[in-house]
Structures are given as C-alpha cells and as structure tokens.
C-alpha cells in the first residue's frame, strides 16, 4: 500500500469548520488549533506536514497528543487521514525524529510520503492509550465523513453517532450541510446531538436530548442518564426542561433495552442448550439403545475437538489460503475419528459387559482415564490453541446493544442440522429402524433377524461420532485440553436423564430447558448459585418423574 499523498487525487478539501457558538474549553482549544492549522496550511507545500503537529503525535502527554491529532486533522485532512489511520493501527514508528509508516515491507516517511528502503534500527512504535484512541477514532470518523465512497461515509456517521466527541462537532455540522442520503443524515443528526450535549446553550442541549431519545445505542443511555446525575447538592444539568426531556428520553431508551435484554437472554439460553444438546445427543443414543452408561463419552467429545485441532494444523501447513474453512473439513473427520474410537471401545470393552451396568460404568470410566492420559502424553497437558475462522468471529448486531456472536449462531444452526440428520437416520433408514427395534425389544428384534450385535457396534459408533461433532462445536467456544470432556459428562447425563432414556425429542427439550433455565438463573443469582439451583431442580424432578420428560411407550422386556 502506498502512502504517497497527492492533492489532485483526493476529493477532500481543506476543512474550514463553521465556528460553533460558545462551546466549552475543549472546543475553544480546538478552534484555536484549527486557526493555527489554517495558517500552517497556507504556508505549506504539497502534503508536507507541519512538523510541530507531527512532533505532538509522539508527545508523552495525552493532552498534547490529542491536541496534535486535532490540529493535524483540521490542517491537513487528506494526509492526516493516512497518518492517523497508521497511528490507530499501530503502524507509526519514530526513528531519530522522523515519523515513519511501517506496513509490512513498505516504509514511508509520514511527513513527506517519500518511500524508505528499510526500517531504521532505532525505530520505536508510537503508542496511544485508550483516551487518545477514543479521540483518534472520533477524529478519523470525522475525516471519513467526506470520503467519496457513500458506504464509508455512512459507516463514519454511524461511528460518530455512537462515539462522537465534542471536538468532532465542526465536521459533523459541515457533513450535515452536504449529506443527501437520509440514512446518513439520521446518523449525523444523532452524532451532532451527542457531541452537543455538553453545549453551554440550554436550547441546544434540549434539542440534543430529544434527538437522542430516538437513538438505540447503549452508550447513549449513559450519556442521557448523565444529564440527571446530581453533583453534590445540585444537578449537573441546570435546566429543568432539559432534565424533563432527558427523563423522558431515558424511559423510551429503557423500553427498547428491555426488549433487547430479554432477547439476549433467550438467545444465550438457546445457545447453551444447543451446546448441551450436541454433547448429549450421542449419549442419548448409546445410553438409550444399549443402556450402557458410557463414562468415556466426554472423551469422545475431546477426540472430536482434537481432530479439529489437527485439521487446523494441517490446513495451516498445507492450505494456508483456505484456513478459514478448516472447521468445515473437521466436521466429517471428527465424526469418523470419534466413531472409530467408539467402535473400538465397544468391540474391546463394552461388548463383553452388556447387561452388567455397574461393570460397564467402571470399565468405561477406566477407558476415559486412559484416553485422557494418552492425549496428555501425545499432545501435552496444555490447552490447544484453536482460533475461530474469520467468518465465525465477531457478531451480528441484531439491534443496537444486542450483538449475537457468529460462533454461537453457527453452533445453534449446526446443532439443528445434526439433529435433523440424526432424526432422518433414525426414522428413514433401515439402520435407524433396526436401532429402534433393538432399543424397544432386543430379544424380539434378534428373533426376526436383526443382527443385534452389529447394530450395537454401529449404534455406539454413531453415538460416538455425534459426540465427535459436539467436540467440533465445543472447540469453537471453549478450551480444548485433555480434561475438557470431564466438564461436559455430568451435564450430558443430566440432559439424557431429564429428557427420558432413549428419546431424542426428550433430549432436545431437556437441553433447551436446562440451557434457558441456567441462563435465566445466572442473570438473577450468578453463575455459582445458578449451577446449584439447577442441580437441586433436577434432583427434585427425577424424584417426581424417574422416567424423565418422555418415557418410551410400548411393551418392554426388561433385562
């Protein structure tokens, strides 16, 4: 990327912000600096920057730095954009009094735009703290308000609407005078209201508060609420009309918040439920079909998660361009790996212990310890580093203040797909028919020619494979380590037991119910107490209804 600045190439024009009427100290200082900037601009050739402003950028003092940023932005908007963007991205370096923009291999002199061959040895990064960053982002958004690209302009207006500082007001005013697009105008109005909330003129404040009542940004609430705060004996806001308007605006904002809050809670419950479901689905099959209490189920999740880790490693080494899709590739691999491990466990251990519940429990617990230890020996005891692919990072802002993270959305969808797949297998295929037949009446199924032993292995392998799929999902939100399975085994059994043995629909309802109940209780009582309450609830529930939510109907041959 080249940073050579050419005035002819840019649509930006030097800013002459309209003088605002009587603002606080910050504004006065800014205006003074703007005037300084203008003087310098007249005297400067091309895009060479005022050295004083540039030297201010590397000042130790935050106040000086902020002043320098503002001065630069108003004096040289087009080159300031480049330098300030570099500063915001931590690309700016200082070497012997010379400011450099270092981006990968390309090194440019920030003041003149001249390319350099290499970074000098004594170069040190120019750093900013949060306070400077806030000003910087606001200033950058102000500069971008005049970008040729409408999308960039709208984005900048949005950013200012949720974080404008009073210093950005002149730009906002000027952008408002030019803006045509209604969406952009609406955002700019909000930004202006936000920036002028601290105005000395009560009328300006009143209209600002009224405009902000229509905003849905969470940070606006704090701003408006700030108008109602008492400072010692008297209100921060001296004007009673403004206070009344603020109280009114607060009520409107709160109503919108309530909605967002409830939606967020339901979503996090559904998200937790989908994770519980993925962890427990496999168990619902193995426990349901064979009555096998498989304590190694958690480790099958771990096998899936480690397969995901290995897939990521393979992609990084061999297909670095497609590394974002490693999760997709990991899905079938994790299923196969876990199914294979499951089939081996069934053939070697479980098969010999059918009908002896206690022995199976102990033996499978032993298997789980062996698997944990084996992974510890092979991969080491530390958690594995798994990064979310880009398309699973970040979130979608459903409404202001309600961000749904992509990784959780994807996992909820994934759980639905797995559920649909497993139901299709159970209901539509011959294998599913056999599995259901064995579940309901093993002896009779055997009599009519179902190969019960093979069905056992297959069912166990499918259950294990689904656990592997659960492992893929878990690797995207939690930690991947040798012990990870232990954290989920209890929850999985709870879901299966509450849902009713051998019932997919029961497992789904139980997982969602437990998920939403946990999240609701967490909101009220905190995570520690919520966990205790859920366990107590389950104990009471099992006392009342030992067969779980759904019981299998039909004729059974017990044992």
């Amino acid at each position: 990327m080249s940073h050579v600045v050419d005035l002819a190439d840019t649509h930006l024009s030097p800013a002459v912000p309209p003088a605002g009427c009587g603002f606080r100290l910050v504004m006065k200082r800014t205006l003074r600096l703007l005037c300084c900037g203008l003087v310098i601009l007249v005297g400067s050739a091309r895009a060479a920057m005022p050295p004083a402003a540039l030297s201010g950028l590397v000042a130790d003092d935050s106040d000086e730095k902020i002043a320098a940023i503002q001065a630069l932005a108003s004096a040289e908007p087009e080159s300031a954009l480049i330098v300030l963007e570099a500063l915001a991205k931590n690309l700016l370096m200082l070497a012997g009094g010379q400011l450099l923009i270092v981006e990968g291999e390309s090194v440019t002199d920030a003041a003149t735009g001249v390319k350099l061959a290499h970074v000098p040895d004594d170069a040190e990064a120019v750093t900013v703290n949060n306070r400077v960053r806030r000003e910087l982002e606001s200033t950058l958004a102000g500069l971008r308000l005049f970008a040729p690209d409408a999308a960039v302009r709208l984005e900048a207006a949005k950013e200012l609407a949720s974080g404008a500082e009073p210093a950005s007001l002149p730009w906002i005013e000027r952008a408002l005078a030019q803006a045509k697009d209604p969406a952009e105008r609406a955002q700019l109005e909000l930004a202006r209201a936000r920036a002028s909330l601290g105005s000395e003129d009560a009328k300006v404040r009143l209209s600002a508060v009224k405009t902000l009542a229509g905003s849905a940004d969470p940070s606006v609430r704090a701003l408006v609420a700030g108008r109602l705060v008492m400072d010692g004996e008297r209100y921060v806001e001296a004007d009673a009309a403004v206070r009344a308007a603020a109280a009114d605006a607060l009520r409107q904002i709160d109503r919108r918040f309530m909605l967002g809050d409830s939606l967020a809670r339901v979503f996090s419950g559904v998200s937790l439920g989908s994770i519980l479901l993925l962890a427990a689905l496999g168990l619902a099959i193995t426990y349901g079909v064979m009555g096998v209490i498989n304590m190694a189920h958690g480790e099958l999740l771990m096998v899936g998660a480690y397969t995901t880790y290995l897939t990521q490693g393979w992609f990084r080494a061999h297909l670095p361009d497609y590394v974002d899709f490693y999760v997709l590739a990991a899905i079938p691999l994790a299923f196969l790996a876990a199914a294979l491990v499951g089939a081996i466990i069934e053939r070697l251990v479980i098969r010999h212990l059918y009908g002896r519940t206690l022995e199976t429990l102990l033996a499978s617990w032993g298997v789980s310890l062996i698997l944990i230890q084996a992974v510890r020996v092979v991969f080491g005891p530390q958690n594995m580093e798994l990064s979310n692919p880009a398309w699973m990072s970040g979130g979608v802002e459903l409404m202001p203040g309600l961000v749904l993270p992509w990784n959780r959305i994807v996992i909820v969808l994934f759980a639905l797909i797995v559920l649909a797949g497993i139901s299709a297998v159970m209901i539509r295929t011959r294998l599913g028919l056999y599995i259901r037949a064995v579940t309901q009446n093993r002896a009779m199924a055997g009599c009519v020619g179902v190969p019960t032993r093979r069905i056992d292995t297959l069912a166990f392998a499918i259950g294990a494979g689904i656990a592997g799929l659960g492992g893929v999902a878990l690797s995207q939100i939690g930690n991947v380590g040798p012990d990870m399975g232990q954290g989920y085994i209890v929850d999985s059994f709870l879901v299966v037991v509450v849902g009713g043995v051998g019932q997919l629909a029961g497992a789904v309802l139980a997982a969602l119910g437990l998920g939403i109940a946990t999240k609701f209780l967490e909101g009220v009582a905190g995570a520690v107490v919520a966990k205790i309450l859920v366990l107590i609830f389950i104990i009471l529930f099992i006392q009342k209804r030992p067969q779980g939510l759904f019981a299998l109907k039909g004729r059974f041959v017990e044992n």
Binding site: E137, A222, R265, Q373, G487
Partner: protein, 422 residues
C-alpha cells in the same frame, strides 16, 4: 492378536505417563534438590506450565555456571493437576521423600493456602511467584509476586485517572475462590474511600473452568449503560480467560467504551486468543515482555532458546510474563541467599534472604524487603496490543515496597510487619 496389541499400547501409554515421576526420584549425591510444584494439567495448566519451564531454565542456567556452592541443582518436578488437596500431598512428598532444599511453586492462592500447613509443619521453604491478595505473612514463604498495593490498587487508581478514562463505576469480576474474593474486598474498601457508592460497584463470580460468559458480558453491558463511565476489574484465573476474552471480543465491548483491567492475564494467557478485538484492554503487572532493557532482552532470549532446545509446543512463539519473571528472580535470590548463608538450611537461608537484591528483567534492581518477605517491585499498567503484547501506559518511578496487610481492611494497622517466629 489385535486386542493384545491394543493392550500393549495401553501399557506403553501408562508407562510413559508415569515416566516423569520415575525419572525425578533418581538420586545423585552431589546435588541440591529443588522442588517445582506447578499444575501441569487441569484448569491452571494454561498459566503454570510456563512457570515450570522457567524454573527448569533458571536451574539449568545456574548449573551451567557451576551450580550453587559447587553443587549442581537437581529439579524435582511434580504435577498437582490443579487439584488443591493434591498440592498439599505433593508438597509433603517433596519435603519428606525427596528432601528438597526449597520449593518453587503454586499459582492460585487456594493452592498456596493448601500447602502452607505442610511447609510450616516440616519447616520447608516456598517461593511463591504470583501476585496475590495479601493478608498473609509466613516465615516459610517468600512472596516474589505483587501484593495488592503493588498491582491492584495502582491499577484502579489509573482507571480513575484522566488517562485511564476517569472511571466512576466498577464491575468486580472474578473466579470464585479466596484471591478474587479478598482482592475485591480490599478494592471495595478502597473504592469507598475514594467516594464510589455501593450502587456503583457490581461484584460477580464464576466457578473455576467456567466457559460460558454470555450472561456476564450482557450484565456488564447493562451495568455500563446505566450511566457514568464504567470499568471492569477482572480477577478471573486460569483457562476461563480464553472464553471470557473471546466472548468480550465477539460481543463488541470495546476498550474505549468499557475497559477491562485484568490481574491474572498476561502474555501467556492471551496466546490462544485473537487479540485484535481486545486492543486497549488492560493488565497490571510488575513486568511485561515488551519492556525494553538489556536484562529483559537477555531473559527473553534465554527463554526462547530454552523453548527451542526443549521443543516446547509453539516454540517459535513462546512469550515471557510477570510470574515467569518472578520465578526467575526468586530462584536467583535463593541462590544468592544460600551462598551468603553457606548452607541450604531453611532457617539460615531465610535469614540470608533479607535485603537480597537482583537485577531483574523489569529493568530495575529489585530488593527483598528486610522484614516482610516481599519484593520491592515497580508497577506497570499495560494495554493489550493487536499482537498479544502490552503497551506500557503507566508506571511507577521505581520499585514500591509491598504492604501485605492492606490498610483498607480494618484491623490490619495492628498487624506486625514481619512473620511470626522470626
């Protein structure tokens, strides 16, 4: 046939997993045994594994320079597996069976509290390298991490300053055990003394290994929206930090809006996290890897070489952090004290430790206090960078003396400034 193979594989696996313990119990006459007591598995492995490596590296370094009093050091490594009662068992094993001269170990305060009775009973010597809540002064322990006045209090003061964002409301968020509970008790008292009302403080705890931070993040957002500038003070420990920071990034809670300052998160914990959305969140420590000085360059290079030599996972990307530095400083100070006392006898070494000083990678010559078993340490507040390192945005002029008995807890003014029985 197949089955036999499988079982023989199992046997090998089991034997291999027992190897480290088997190897460590070997005896050599001309060595001084040194215990390393850090969790190499479980929820704390994310933080403690690197401390074990640092301890082994420092021991290796000392041995390469001729050892201590002409004797080589021999490390005895045990894994208490993030299991607090097991810490006490392993400590007893180190002191009675292996007869180590000193133990370097523990991270969580609950593990330290668990081994304390063992060290007192057997008159052992423990070097504890992690920042903690204070409220403790034991003759048998040297604390090379920070006391609250060397980390927590300055960090909160920074948040309240203009550059820190002039925070007026605080969320105290932690893992549910003794360190976060006590630290938050101190911080609450401190905030009150600065005029912060109870309504402006929210306290919340999660269990060890908690991995679902949706509700908590939603609560923080809501609390922050109620007015006034909000900051989060996190005492979350162990691998819960990874899901916490992932959720923080995904939920779009930016440091410019609600900064999170953490006391148990350093370079090592952030290794598994995409730090780009976290830029600007803070941590307070007495050392950062990004500090520029000759001692630190040496320390980082030494650890990188060690990681390569030992083929650690991701050896090319290893990082150093504060507790690693504290471990390193502790081992060297113990060596100096042994040489001064001309003995590894615990009581003599304890006497010789007073006033020891060492040129630390933090860039300062830091001193073991003559009386209170704590180091004088400089304090740094750093902001997370996109590359997972920290920018120092605030620091003390020089080392600060530790106040293990926080003045913000009533009754502490009467406590003695040195351990009993000394």
């Amino acid at each position: 046939m197949k089955r036999r193979q499988f079982f023989s594989t199992l046997a090998i696996t089991a034997a291999m997993s027992a190897l480290p313990w088997a190897a460590s119990s070997g005896f050599a006459a001309d060595t001084i045994k040194v215990g390393v007591l850090h969790s190499l598995s479980g929820t704390m492995a994310i933080s403690e594994t690197a401390l074990k490596e640092t301890a082994l590296m420092a021991i290796d370094e000392i041995n390469a320079k001729g050892g201590v009093m002409g004797k080589k050091l021999e490390a005895v490594v045990v894994d208490p597996a993030s299991n607090w009662p097991l810490f006490a068992e392993k400590a007893r094993q180190l002191l009675t069976q292996d007869k180590v001269a000193v133990v370097f170990g523990c991270w969580t305060s609950v593990s330290r509290k668990s081994v304390l009775p063992v060290f007192k009973e057997l008159n052992g010597l423990l070097f504890y390298p992690v920042q903690y809540e204070g409220e403790e002064l034991e003759k048998n322990v040297f604390y090379t991490g920070a006391a609250p006045n060397q980390q927590a209090i300055p960090a909160v003061e920074y948040l309240m300053s203009k550059d820190g964002g002039s925070a007026k409301r605080f969320v105290l968020l932690g893992t549910d055990y003794v360190y976060p509970r006590t630290t938050n008790k101190i911080l609450r008292a401190f905030l009150k003394s600065k005029g912060v009302a109870d309504a402006d403080i929210m306290e919340d705890y999660t269990p060890f290994g908690h991995s679902d931070y949706q509700t908590i993040i939603a609560k923080i957002k809501k609390f922050a929206a109620e007015g006034k500038k909000t900051a989060v003070i996190s005492t979350i420990n162990g691998d819960s930090n990874v899901p916490f920071y992932k959720e923080l990034g995904n939920a779009g809670l930016k440091a410019t809006d609600v900064p999170v300052v953490a006391f148990s998160v350093g370079e090592e914990e952030l290794r598994g996290v995409d730090t780009k959305p976290l830029v600007g969140h803070l941590a307070a420590w007495n050392y950062f890897m990004s500090l520029k000085n000759a001692e630190n360059d040496k320390f980082i290079k030494m650890y990188r070489d060690w990681a390569k030599k030992k083929k650690l996972a991701n050896a090319d990307k290893v990082v150093t952090n504060d507790p690693m530095e504290a471990t390193y400083v502790g081992i060297h100070m113990w060596k100096q004290a042994v040489e001064k006392a001309k003995s590894t006898d615990v009581d003599k070494v304890i006497g010789a430790m007073a006033g020891q000083s060492f040129k630390a990678p933090s860039g300062f010559t830091i001193k073991m206090d003559e009386k209170n078993h704590h180091l004088h340490k400089p304090v740094f507040v750093g902001e997370v960078r996109a590359d997972g390192q920290f920018n120092v945005v605030w620091k003390t002029k020089g080392p600060v003396r530790a106040a293990p008995w926080s003045p913000y807890i009533p009754g502490n003014d009467k406590k003695k400034d040195g351990p009993d029985g000394q």
